[in-house]
Each structure stands twice: as structure tokens, then as C-alpha cells.
Amino acid sequence: MVRLRRLLASAPPEHSVPLRLWTMVAVLVSVFAVTAHDDFLQQRLTIPVLVVAGFAFSYWRRGKRNWWVKAVLAVLCLEVSRQFLRGVMADPYHTSVPLTVLLLWLQTLHAFDVPARRDLLFSLLSSVILMAVAAAFALDHSFLVYLGLFAFAAVQAMVHNAWQGVAEYAARLPGPRRSVAGGAAAAGPAPGTAAPRTALLWAANHLLVLVLLGAAVVFAFTPRLEGMRLTSLPFSAQRVLLDVFAGRIVNPAYPEGARGPDGAPPPWNPRGYFGFSTTLDLRMRGVLDDRLVMRVRATRAYNWRGMVFDTYTGTGWEIAEARLTQIDGGVPPMTITRRQDESIGYTARTERVVQTFFVEEEQPNVVFAAPLAELLYLAADRVYVDRYGSIRLPGTLRPGDVYSVVSRAWVPQAAQLRAARGPVPTFIAERYLQLPPLPERVVALARRLTEGQPTLFDQVVAVNRFLITAYRYDLSIPHQRRPGDAVDYFLFVERRGYCEQFASAMAVLLRAAGIPARLVTGYTPGTLNPITGLLEVRNSDAHAWVEVFFPGLGWVEFEPTPGFPDTAELGVPASRRWVVQDLLALGRTYARDLAARWPVAARLLDGLVLALWAGLAVTLAVAGGLAVAGARRSLAARAAPQEPTAALAEVYREMCALLARRGFPRGPSETVAEFRARVEAAGPWPEVAAISAAVEGVAYGGDAATPEAVAAARAHLDRVRRRAGSARGAAG
């Protein structure tokens, strides 16, 4: 109760201007970091101005009775809370925005009443919470600029706060003013007096460097555990998708469709992937640019499946089935029901994959997600699902849109796949064995690759491996020089091509061998940004792969294009357990790219890396040697004999502590003789008498303490210890 009263009691006003200034700067930086997000642009000017005014007002009113200020602030807090509740009730699925606005206003109102140091500390800690909110909203490295500024201001504020705190601590015991002199120290301050500003600034700047370096090391070795166990996943609230397409697929890069006049392929648009349409023309040629199209936060990295094609035409693929299932939006999330082709009893282990997509560039009205999406968090009145499990939206995805998907992805095991056998359901065979008339050599190749393979899985792997090893991935292939089947042209003429050629070849060869297969388009997982933890998906990550049907199991992804990660490598956690692993992997990727483009630079880099390793080894060796030397010195110092007088005093203190535990505490003003007499009155303690006599002789008798006397005293102490121990044992 006393401590509570002390906590609630008024604290003395804080007069330090630097402390107030740096705290205010830290708060301002946190406010700017939060209001950098589009949802808070309204508060970007108002709140900083009010914060500055608040801190100035607090400084002016410090030390005065401010009951009326607190009353006004209390009323304003109620109003702000009312606005928050209103916002939450208007949109209960997006509480983060009104909650953040509430935090901003509470921090602003608090700025008007910070008279004491503890109030400033509270402001500083609140600004850390605002920085955390800003970090949760931020998607790119621009947040690091705010974080750097915040660290600078916060360290300055903490150093000044530490100075004031230690001055108060030093003054807490009663007594006249203390003074310090000598060396480099100035006279010690009474609490509230001015701090040595230059020294503090110097110290704070050096500390900032240490803190930032330490943060880099800590960040690299921070473990990343499985997360995203949220009751509600994020999705954008700003824009509701109006249903303008009624289930049609619209690709902003090919607004007229993926078929040009007279059935010829349309002109190439590097800004969008031609595979996100209802038709996919294998005669398209071009290179996609590297624009960032979306960022993904996911528990596992998968190919982000967009569309499925079931009909091969000889020049490309089409989606034969036009019927769609409409799923109405309402209370999010939307539950995605599967169509016939997906309604198969999966017997393999599945895992929950949570993904949030942050759209950066306009995308077709298709939901990209890991396979077998179950729940969709999206601001739309309805969505459409086709028989292949692809989800179509009422409108295109615009920059700034956010949606989340929970998938139940299947984790196929090789043994399970090998064991798969049995008849293929008719509705699957009818659709996914479809082929136009093919050149005989294609069929013969399919037969040759698959005959003699013991299982279906081995057959599929044989085709897959053949394509990966015998053909080359090349984005510079020319247009098809003669008409005819596109897959035949790829397999026997060109022998190189895009992922569409590889995926089409695999699907066609499998179908020719009687194995149901289909073409899928979407995006590869993207590149992990170790800093933000997001997968960055670029336009050039658009991809095509194959899904193969295994009886009794379902559709399994396969990757036929060389240079792309095998599907067995998918489904792993998006980021590794330790950030340092991701950083090293990123470094290796950059080094590989560098080596491919500039061999000379790569060799230089190799040399630099070697030099760094050598330097690290030397540094570690030197540091290890210094550490060993230091440890030896420290041990030697500890083993060095203590000065005899101090050693004797230590023995006496240990004896008193021992006797205190045995029920003989020495009074604070009890003399050595009095204490000895009291102890001896309770029983014979010749050792106590001997130690006391030695101490008295040194302290008051002018005797010199000798190592022999100390040794004798220690021997007496050991006997006291044994007697005390045996007495306790006897008593027990």
C-alpha cells in the first residue's frame, strides 16, 4: 500500500530541457512513422503540431497545479474513445485502423500533461508502441529510416533520463550535499541541475552506434517461429470490389483478351503475363519486366496458383468449362467450396497455410494463393469459383489492395505417390486426357519415356526428368518458324523455351501416356526479403507448371522447367528459423547472379570474401588470445593475497554472519568486545574470542595485521563453521 501511494504521489517536475526535447522528437518520429501509411494521412499534419504544442504547454505548466488540465484531457479522452468505438462498430473487421487512431490521439493528449520525468518516460515508451504499430503496417525498407531516427532520439532521451535518474538516486539518502572533485569529474550535481551536455551528447552518439550494431547482430540471430495464428486475417477495407466482370477474367495487360485478330497472338506486353486469361497462346514471345507486383506474408512458400487450363488446342490452352459457382460475401471470411475436380478425399497429410497478399501493381481479377484455398478474407460482395478451384473476383486487384487466404495444402510423400494406383474417375479422364491429333513422334516419345516404369509416380518423374535434363530454359527463343503443333515444335525443333513450353510438353506427354494432367499458371513464391520477412513477387516470377492426377490422392504439382525449384522444395517455411540463414542465402543468390553477369567482379568478390574470412579468423584468434590472457590476469588477481587488514576484517565479517545465522546477530553499534562477551555468555567459543582478540588488536591496539594472523583467524573461522554446522545437525 505504501509503495502504491508512493507511485501515485506527485513526482517533482522535470526541468531538463534536453530530456523533454529528445522525448518530443522520439514521439514525433513515431507519429510520422505511423501516419506514413495511407490509412492515417488525415492525421499526418494535425497530430505532430498538437504534440509539439502539448510538450511546450507541459514545460510551461510544470510545477503548477494542473487539475483543470487533467479534467479537460479526461473529457477529450472520452471523446476519442467514443470515436474509436464508433469506428469499430462501423467496421468490426478492421479494428486496427481505429485502434491506431486512438493510440495516436491518446499520445497527443498525454503530451499536454507531462510535468515529471516519469511522465516523459511514459511518453517515450508509448512512442515505442507506436513504432511497433508502424512496423506492423509497413511493407518496405522505408520504415528503417524512421527507425533509425527514432533510435537516435530515443537513445538521447534515455541518456538524459539516466543522468537525471542517477542524480536523484544519489540524493535519496538523507545528508548534506555531497561533492566530487578530482580527475576528470566536475562537482556532482544536486538533482535537477544541469547535466554535462557535451559529455552526454558524446556518450549518446557512441551508444547509438553500439545499439545499432548490436541490433543488427540480435536481428540476425532472432529465431522465427511459426506464427500467424490470428483469429482474423488482414484484408483491405478501403475499396469494395464492384462486380463489373460477372465472372469473366480480365487481364489489365491484355484488356482485349489473349487472342489477337485472326486468332494470332496479341502484341506482347512486358507489364503483364499473358497466361492470366481464358486462353494461353504458346506462340507468344517476349520477356516480362521485373516490376514488383505483390508482397506476400505466408507461413509457407508455395507457388501462388492463379488459373488452370484443361484443353490443349495444339497452339495453346483454353479453359473449357465456363460454369462458375458464385460465393457471396458477408461476414468474412468466405468459405471456398470446391468443385467436382477437387472434391476428392485426400488421404495425405495437409497443413494450414496462411497467406496475406499486398498488391503493388494492378493484377487480373484472379485470387493468387497456395493450392486448396479454404477461406478468403476479401472486401467483395461475391467471388466465383470454377471447377478447377480457381477463384475469380468481381474486379481487378489494384495497388494497395490486401487480401488473405487460408489454404489446406496437401503434403505429398514420395512413398504415398508411388503407392497410388487404381482407376481414374471418368469425369477426370474425360477432361484431362483430352488431346488434339498429335504428331506420332510426340506420342511415341511419351510411350518410350513411360514404358517400363513400375509405378505411375515413376512414369511422371521420368517425363519430368527428361524435360529438365534434355531441354534448355531460354527466354530469347524466336517465334515459331513454321506452323504446327507447338509442343511438337518445342520437343523436336526448338528444344528450348519458356516455362509454358515445358509445362505444356509435360502435360501433353503425360496425357498421351494416359495420365491425367493439366496446366496451371500463377506466380512462383518470390524472393524473401529477410528484413521485412515478406516474399517479394515480381512480374518476371509469373510461371506455368503442371498438376498431375494420382488416383486416390488428387492433383499433385510438378515442375518441368529447369532452373526452377522442384515442387518438393515448396511448402517449406517462407523464412528460415534464423534470419542469418536467410541473409546468407540472399548473399549467395546475389553472388550467383553477379557471377553470371560479371565473372571478373565475381572473382573479385570471391577474393574479398576470402580476405574477410581470413580477417575474421585472425580477429578471432587475437580476441581469443586476449581473452585467455585477460582471464589469466583476472584469476591471478583474484588469487593474489588480500591486504591482511582487509582479509582479517573479512574473516570477522564472515564469523558474524555465521553467528547471526546461529541466533547471535551482532548489533550495529555493538563493539567487538561486547559481542564476544555476549556470545561467550551462551557457551564457550574460544575461536570467537581468538578472532575478536586479533581484530581488536589490529583495529584498536595498533598491532599490525600479518598474513600469519590472518591464516590463524581463518583456521579459527573454519572451526566455528564446523561447530555451528555440527550444532545444527545435532539440533536437527
Binding site: L121, M158, G165, G182, G183, L648
Partner: protein, 351 residues
């Protein structure tokens, strides 16, 4: 030990880590790393200066109740350190001093002023140096072994004029009418010894002998007066302290007037202390462990009794707080006394 700020930073770091894990937000991990780094640097800057720090203390051997006593602690360091707080003293009299900076080649001396609240003999224990680091997130302490003893004398107060008038005759031996041998009486001559005052050289004998000869004076027969302190074990510590202060005040008066006074008390027998310092040292540590005053006075040795000119005592039969000043001859009998009253702080007033 984390300070309040340190605990807050650690709590925030934990909360941000949980949030970052749940949201899989890399930037939250960065913020968390910053908080953890602050805590680590805060700990390091608190621990670093304490290593390689040495402290030496100089404390006066004596102090007086209620009067400031300066303790000087010299800090020398192998590493630079800031925001150190030196704490020293003993229970009931402790002080802290802030040392803003100490470094190699830049020692600092902190002067702590303690005000002992009570007389006694105190063992001044280890010097404690605390460091909160540059960020104020942790407080680490280090103790430096040092053992000195301080004797705190009781406080004395000037006696009122009326009291002085009444006490002086007794203190100077005039009340008993006894003539004592004076220290000015010459006893004889002897050879000069180094340290003898030149004023004592007997020139006539020196001229005759051809070597320095000095006069040797009579030793005084005994003190002109004695102050008896009642150490009745049944009295409260507060009453004993008041009596001690009163006795010290009277003793000071006697010393100021040049009176030769001895201080007597009962500690398993009569003990006598002569001279200002010896008497005050004894008063600093005296404890109430004696029987009733009349009993111990009855056991006063006869030669002592003869030497007594006055016994100023607290008599059990007197009202509390009354100081009885009695002639020596009346010690064993019915006392004729002049009564005084002393307060808890030892001031003596006429009753």
C-alpha cells in the same frame, strides 16, 4: 537488477517479439532487435565500468553525534566509467555521492558527508559503488572491501550559566576545601632528555654540571573531581544516552576550565577514564549494565572516595531526568544535592 526503465524495455521487447512472431513481420523483428540491443548495451555500460575499478577510503577515526563527518572515497579505474554512485557509511549514517566520470589517468574523489545519529563504535564496512550505465536500464553494484572503525562521541551542549556557577566549585575541588599537590611544585632535577621543554632547563645546575639539566615537577596527587555516570541496567537506552550527553557536556565544561576531572563508571567493577579523549571514547561505547547506583557507589574504593570532590550522578530515587550534583563526602550518605534537569539531547538546566 533492471531499473524501472529497464523492466519496461524488457517487457516491451518480449511483447514486440510475440507480436512479430504472430504477424510474421520482419520489421517488427527489427524493432525488437533494437529494444534487445538497448537492454544489452544498457547492461554492458553498467557492468563495464565496475570492472577494473578500485576504491580507497579515508575516514576519520572519530566523529560527534549530529555533526557531519566527511568520508573521502578515491576511485581509480582502468576503464572509463560514467554515472557511478558511491555509497558508504554504516547503518543509521549512510550517504551517496555521484561521480559523473572516472577514467584511466583520471581518478575521482568523492566526499560523502554522513551525520551520525547516535554515539557508538561503528565498523565502516565495504564501500559500495553502483553504476546504472549510460542508458539507465540496469543498476549493478560492486563492493570494495574496506574496514575501518569510527568512534562517534556523544553530543555536548553548552551548559546554562546557572548550572556552570553551581558546578564549577565542585569541579575545581574548591567545594571540598582540599588542597592538592599542584603540578607547579618542583620535585627535583634530572639530566635533559630529548623532548624535554627548554623552559624547564635548570640553568644553574646546567652550568655547574656542564650538561643540560631540567626541572622535574610534582605529579598531581589526583583529579580534583570525578563525574560518576549511572549505568543502571534497568534504564532505557534513551535515558542512558541523555545521561551520557549530560556527562559529556559537564566534562567539556571541566576541560574548558582546565579542571582535572576523571570519569567513573561501573563495568564489572569501577573503571576510570581521565583526559578528554579517553573519556569521550569511553562515553561513545558505554552500555548500561550496572546495578543500581547506590550499590555501586557503596563499592567505590576508599582511595577513590577520598579523591572524589564531587559525584554528578543520576540517582534512581530522583525524578527522571534529574541530575544530582553531590559533594564527595555525602556520596555514601544522605545526599545534599543541587538538582539539575537534563533533556533527551543532554542539555542541562537548573531544576
Amino acid at each position: 537488477m533492471p531499473t524501472r526503465e529497464g523492466a519496461a524495455v524488457l517487457a516491451l521487447a518480449g511483447a514486440v517479439f510475440l507480436l512479430a512472431t504472430n504477424l510474421l513481420s520482419g520489421l517488427l523483428f527489427v524493432l525488437d532487435a533494437l529494444l534487445v540491443s538497448c537492454a544489452l548495451v544498457g547492461f554492458a555500460t553498467a557492468a563495464w565500468p565496475l570492472r577494473g575499478l578500485a576504491a580507497r577510503r579515508r575516514v576519520p577515526g572519530r566523529g560527534v553525534e549530529g555533526e557531519p563527518l566527511a568520508i573521502a572515497v578515491e576511485l581509480s579505474a582502468r576503464r572509463a566509467g560514467r554515472f557511478l554512485v558511491v555509497e558508504d557509511g554504516w547503518p543509521g549514517a549512510r550517504a551517496r555521492a555521484l561521480v559523473p566520470h572516472v577514467g584511466p589517468g583520471a581518478p575521482a574523489v568523492a566526499t560523502l558527508t554522513v551525520v551520525p545519529s547516535r554515539r557508538g563504535r561503528y565498523a565502516v564496512g565495504p564501500v559500495e559503488v553502483a553504476c546504472r550505465g549510460m542508458l539507465g536500464l540496469f543498476t549493478l553494484r560492486r563492493r570494495f572491501s574496506a574496514a575501518e572503525a569510527v568512534v562517534v562521541w556523544p553530543a555536548t551542549r553548552p551548559l546554562p550559566g546557572a548550572v556552570v556557577e553551581s558546578l564549577l566549585p565542585a569541579l575545581e575541588g574548591r567545594a571540598s576545601g582540599r588542597r592538592t599537590r599542584q603540578a607547579e611544585d618542583v620535585y627535583g632535577v634530572r639530566d635533559y632528555q630529548p623532548g624535554d621543554q627548554f623552559a624547564r632547563i635548570h640553568w644553574r645546575s646546567t652550568a655547574r654540571r656542564g650538561a643540560l639539566v631540567v626541572r622535574e615537577y610534582e605529579q598531581p596527587e589526583g583529579p580534583a573531581a570525578a563525574i560518576v555516570l549511572d549505568l543502571d541496567r534497568t534504564q532505557t537506552p534513551a535515558r542512558l544516552d541523555a545521561a551520557v550527553r549530560a556527562a559529556a557536556s559537564i566534562l567539556r565544561l571541566a576541560v574548558q576550565r582546565g579542571a582535572d576531572v576523571v570519569l567513573l563508571g561501573w563495568e564489572d567493577g569501577w573503571v576510570a577514564h581521565r583526559g578528554w579523549e579517553a573519556a569521550m571514547d569511553w562515553l561513545a561505547g558505554v552500555r548500561a549494565a550496572a546495578p543500581r547506583l547506590p550499590e555501586v557507589l557503596a563499592a567505590l574504593p576508599s582511595d577513590r572516595r577520598a579523591a572524589l570532590a564531587v559525584a554528578a550522578a543520576v540517582h534512581r530515587d530522583l525524578p527522571a531526568g534529574v541530575l544530582a550534583v553531590v559533594p564527595a563526602e555525602d556520596v555514601a550518605g544522605e545526599p545534599g544535592f543541587t538538582g539539575f534537569v537534563y533533556a533527551a539531547d543532554g542539555t542541562v538546566q537548573a531544576w
